[in-house]
Subunit: 249 residues, 7 copies
């Protein structure tokens, strides 16, 4: 990047550069990968699953007090990559939006509505001066009770959001995406993926891109299932899936 | 562009350059083409039609969760090109303005009123400091029940709007415009264009400038018809039109 | 313009340069001519007339949806040259001011009051920071029912306004002004100019400076007459006047 | 002016330069002379008089719609030199202040009170940031009914004001001041100057510095007289005085 | 002053330079001397006196309309040196503060309270951004009815104030201070200075530093005396004192 | 750090640098170590302990008036490293948040809730312009009455927080962390650490990294115990523990 | 100080430099010493004492109107070094805070509470933009009626405060501190310092660092004693102590 083209344009949150770019948004994307984490989400047929590494930056940290998997409300939950403090702020807002929706509409906020709402909030940070964008990307999963469908959404600092069949965010996003595409291409319509199959693909993908075999304590796995529930899998459940994966190979 | 003429003037949203230009508005236009999409609108005799490529940036995206065709209210709908997050904000505002009009006037907001209202909002972003212009251009169609006329409008970041017989926005705007002009010149007053003829020209134009033959899943087609209705054509309907086009050639 | 004298002073809307100039106002004047249009106004004895080219920037535009002649209220109307979006904002405000006056005073806002009010609003943009000046100049005509006089005013971004016997704005302003001065010098007090004579001079002047013979569809002509009326002439009426002009030459 | 001493200090309205100067105020003074006009005021014994050139910048302007002589209220009136749009704003405010005073105090605002009030408003523009100073100087005349004295005041962008026996503003201010000083030195206490003598000196001074013999249509003359009245002299009255002047020479 | 040490620090009203200086306050002091005036105050035993030159910048100015001596309220009055418009603003505020005090406390505001209040207001201009300091210094005199003492205070743009036995402000401040110190050193406790002795020293000092013999019309003299009164001496009274001075020498 | 990469980005509190960093937050971390202090926290089985050096910057300071150990409310307390004035502000806010929580929830604010609340407040300073981040890091301890667990949290200017088994902040943070990791690795599950064992490790660690043997007056030790209590150990209690440590070695 | 490290960071009140410093606070410290004054405070056993030079900048100043010793309320009082106008503002605020406390709590504000409150106010000026820090340091003394202890606190622009046994501020702070440390080291626990002993040390210290023998009129001495009283010593009392000091040497 030459000085001539960016100097000045990248210090104001809400102006366009001569090429029509919003530099501050692009820089916020850089912040997402600073923690070096990768998260993977997969949408199965009756269940969506999320997996993220549980990297404790300091051995003295009480691992129980740290989690990158957040229950938001109803069947919705998320993993967030990026600045740690911004992650908490992101989740605080997501929970507030959920409570607000539930109160107004008297039914649980659907996962797609939540993702769109969070993206709308992110867009405002890119258009109005003052507050900077949050340096985080998130994967949100939930279960759509009306259409009997698990859902999987991704949000980022640009205010973009979309539903996905499978998706990755963070440091190894590109490699994970390639791996997921290959795997999904092979999936036939007859295969019906429940909790285990969905979580298995998510974990396999993460193991593949990190190139290591996980212990249950090294990852966090969460699922949204048809019983309108979002929950983090216990270490035993994760162990069981890891065994299946190990045996398969 | 020399530094001497633009440095400084293009970093403030609402000041004139020495030549009387508003640089930030010009840069916002650049943002419109960043997605590389092209959209085409055609006004027939009983129907207006819009067509836009359905380019899914990522194979893992759930194509159903993504659409660049938006129903706004009554017979009005739009396609939007440009920054994805800004598109959603644009549509959110258009829907709000429509609801507001309907509530106050007790009849559906006409398409031209909507286009002028959205253009007025865009003009404010070019005159008052603070909020940047939205990096999007839109084609709005609707059916004027009073005059029994289909309508087609275009809006952009400068706050300009006009009604069109046919129009294109996005990456291949120039080529599409030339093609449309040629086609419309040949149209005789006897020809009465209904849904199919209108949609056919829109799709043909897009196929021409992209230089590819579409499958129904690769484009989104929407129409506003005299029954005060805006709807997106189903894949079968699109297939049918694509077949007609293929046979004609 | 040397950098030394303008750098810095021309980026703030409301500060004086060392020579006592307001650069942002001067740059706004540049914006007026960007469309390349010229408009001419003439005040006759029982009627004022405006004429402006109808240049459609794009052959696909629905010419009916575009007009640079605006009815404001009562016998008042205007043509506006300059940025398209700013023109609409200018007229929106003029209509609001007219409604406001009519409501408060219970009689139609006179043309001169309207011109002064619009100039006062423009002056504020040159004195207070924040909002930029509108990049437009306007010709306002109306009929003063009290003094039985047609009126013709001009406003611009500096907040200046004055009544005129004949006046031009836009790209060919200087040539048109010279032509009008010559014609008015020859007018005798016996000549009484009604609608046709007034419109004729306006059209002749525009034809002279554009150096082309117009078709009715290529110009818009509007008049304010003693029956407290502002109206745009129909194509037939314009045709008739064009014929007179052609025969005279 | 060297860059070293002014750069930066002259772009903010309300900061002192290292020499204790307020550059923006000095630049506003430059704006006063841009129109090239000169105005002269003289205080006689029963009457104050103002004279200003009637320079119409454009032959097509309706001279009747332009005047630099403004009635403000009661016996008070003014001529204003400088930016045209700022002049109107200045007078608008002066009229508002007069109405306000009259309403609160139930007698006509005296000329000196008005001048001090307008100067106080001007001072605020030099002390508080935001709004720029008005680029105008004014001469205000009025008749003090309590002391049976005609009054003559001058205001400028610095917020300075004072009463004068005779005074000039504008392009030829220095020459006019010298001429007035010479004339007033010769005046004896026995001479009692009424309307004609006062207006005569004002016009003579203007003729002297412009070095031309005026026609009545080329100047505007206004007087404030003991009958609590401010009025502009008719062309006949001006003609009469011009004749006296011509005969005297 | 080198650029390195002041550049930047002196363009913001309320920041410290690296040496702990407030440049804008220092520049405001420069503005005090721009008029070239000097004022002298002396505190006698039953009376305080002020004297200031009456320099009329323009021979045509009505000398009666100009005074640098201002009655503020009760026995308090002041002379102000510096920017003319700022002086009026200073006095307007002092009068307002006096009225406010009188209303709240039901007795005349003492001179020292007034000086401290005006200094407190000046300090705010040096600490909070926005409004610049007033470019004036003042001498305030009054009579303390409770302690039966005449008072003499000085205020300046830094917010500093103190009571004085004798003091000078303005262009010749240093010379006047030296002269006053010499004279006061010779004063014995037996000498009781009333109105004449006090005014005499003030005038003598001014004559000394200006090196000229004044006529009564060339100076303004004001006194605050034990009868709770502030008044300007008439020309006859001044003449009488000038004669005493002339005879003494 | 090269100028090219940081210049400009590090002078605004809430913008991202091109690498996605928030420079102002990084600079705030530098402020934490300026006092040269180190604090250590250890979570035992029934008790959490904090220790910090009592370095009195000036021998004349009344040591009793200075403490870096703060009781916050209930069993919660903290030590704070960094700017002294910011420390007081940090504690003032923590106490306010505690009172607020207690009032709303009618039970003592748990230590983890307090840490998260303080981190949320810190995050706001990194996202919104205006107020700078506090230049402090803190260790907060408390006793979780519900889970019968002592707690230990750390907060910093980035808005990050986590629970710890043992942790250090300040100048010797790295050395202390290494020492603590070694010690904790050796701890067996059978060992149950009460007040003395916990405080002993904290003090030993501090002695190790400072490389000095403390007198009771040279350190401050505080504990949070199961009786819902936060208290600072008396000199006698500290003496006792120091003796144990000395004997052990 | 190199330009590279400070340029830019020191012109904004509330941003950190790359080293974690707040330059504007450091510059405010420079302002404290500009008056060249030194003040000394000593805490005895039944009394705290303050002494400060009475340097009258101008022989003409009425020495009675100037004092750097301020009674604040109850037994609390202070001396303030630094910008004169800021000193008055500091005391105004301290008095307001005292009144406010007394009204809310119905007992006199203790000295330590006052010092912490003033420090908290100073911290805000270092964290929030807009208002600059006050360029003053203060010594506050009082008598703690509850613990029967005299108190002595110091505040400065950084928001730091602490209790002291003895302390100095201003130009000769370092020398005075060294002298005080030596003297206090020699003090035995048997020595009980009352008013005289306490004041004696304070004065001796000041005499030592200024290297001159004072006359009573050259210093101001104030004490806070157990009868809940703050008072300035009379010249006779000071004379008496000076005599004791002189005899001792």
């Amino acid at each position: 990047m030459s000085r001539g083209s960016s100097a000045g344009f990248d210090r104001n949150i809400t102006i366009f550069s001569p090429e029509g770019r919003l530099y501050q948004v692009e820089y916020a994307f850089k912040a997402i990968n600073q923690g070096g984490l990768t998260a993977v989400g997969v949408r199965g047929d009756t269940c969506s699953a999320l997996v993220i590494q549980k990297k404790v930056p300091d051995k003295l940290i009480d691992a129980d007090s740290m989690s990158r998997v957040w229950k938001i409300g109803g069947s919705n939950g998320a993993v967030v990559c990026g600045l740690s403090a911004d992650s908490r702020e992101y989740i605080r807002r997501a929970r507030y939006e959920t409570m607000n929706w539930n109160y107004k509409n008297a039914y649980e906020m659907p996962c797609d509505q939540l993702a769109h709402r969070m993206a709308t909030i992110a867009q405002v940070y890119t258009q109005e001066p003052g507050t900077r964008a949050l340096g985080v990307a998130s994967l949100i999963i939930g279960y759509d009770d009306e259409n009997k469908l698990p859902l999987l959404y991704r949000t980022d600092p640009s205010g973009y959001t979309a539903g996905f069949k499978a998706v990755a965010i963070g440091a190894k996003q590109t490699e994970a995406t390639n791996f997921l595409e290959k795997k999904l291409r092979k999936k036939t319509d007859e295969e019906k993926w429940g909790l285990k199959e969905t979580a298995e693909l998510a974990i396999t993908t993460l193991q593949h891109v990190i190139a290591t075999d996980f212990k249950p304590s090294e990852i966090e796995v969460a699922v949204a299932t048809s019983d309108n529930n979002f929950r983090q899998l216990s270490d035993d459940e994760v162990e069981e899936i890891l065994t299946i994966i190990a045996e398969r190979e």
